[in-house]
Symmetry: C2
Subunit: 157 residues, 2 copies
Amino acid sequence: MMDARIDEIRKQLTAKGFKLTAQREETVKVLLENEDNHLTTEEIYMIVKNRVAEIGIATVYRTLELLKELHVIEKVNFGDGVYRFDLRRKNQAHFHHHLICTECGAVQEILEDWLLPLENRVLLEFGFTVEDHRLDFQGVCHSCKAKHTSEECKAVS
Amino acid sequence: MMDARIDEIRKQLTAKGFKLTAQREETVKVLLENEDNHLTTEEIYMIVKNRVAEIGIATVYRTLELLKELHVIEKVNFGDGVYRFDLRRKNQAHFHHHLICTECGAVQEILEDWLLPLENRVLLEFGFTVEDHRLDFQGVCHSCKAKHTSEECKAVS
DNA sequence: TATTTAATGATAATAATTATAAATAAGAAA
DNA sequence: TTTCTTATTTATAATTATTATCATTAAATA
């Protein structure tokens, strides 16, 4: 299944005259293995370097930039000063939504697209044709709330 | 009206033991005068410097950080590598939505809050309590589309 | 007025990213 | 296969945005 995805990306690259080098392939693999995380360039570089020791960080930067151009990945910024990368899942045109916990920093994803009605409204009210979107919610996640209540219980007892 | 807004901010500051210095006041004024733009720290610094020549950029950074803490402004990142600042309008609890044109770069705002139903859904389905949100749409704005059609007309004639 | 504390400006330091240039690898042409 | 051309990489320098430091200044308080 991962091989199929890599082949697909190879085709996308060669179609535009690029090559899937060993460095690029390893970077793609790291992204595929971490589909649920949002890794920074640095983090991706560290993992890739363990496998292809002679890789330079500039190559990782370039590869990520290239994959972004091909819409294989998304470059996101949750406001903590670094860019993170997020694989666009197969058969999923839209960029998924995020629930960012302001207490523990956990990022949960909503895979379903909740914005189609709003995009229609944007077209009608503003004459703006939406090509992509981004929706993040900041707040307190389920487990942090659970932590609070248990702490309150302790405080009372 | 601007003075009233500044007074309000002064109160917020003094309530927390901070002062509204001349530098801070001038920075706030620039933000108020540019409510519809999303200025970078550098841009804000340049404008303020024209009025208070001896101000240093570190002060602008610090002031913006402080205003962010007080929820007077929002720090946003549209993915172009710099942070921009956006004044939270009076009587408007939520952070407004953005329509970002990928052709001309214009950023239009939706002031109305369209996300309340979705925030309720997030609570029900994920047990996640939303404190804030961010919604950006990328696409083609009305005037860029108009440009296209006129160019197509020229091409035909 | 003297004293304490907050805030500032100048500048150094850091962190992330991008540019450069020489070396290497890969594919196409001979 | 060998040569030629081009893409890609590595290592490193340069750049950019941001943060930290620290001496100085301004403001508030006793």
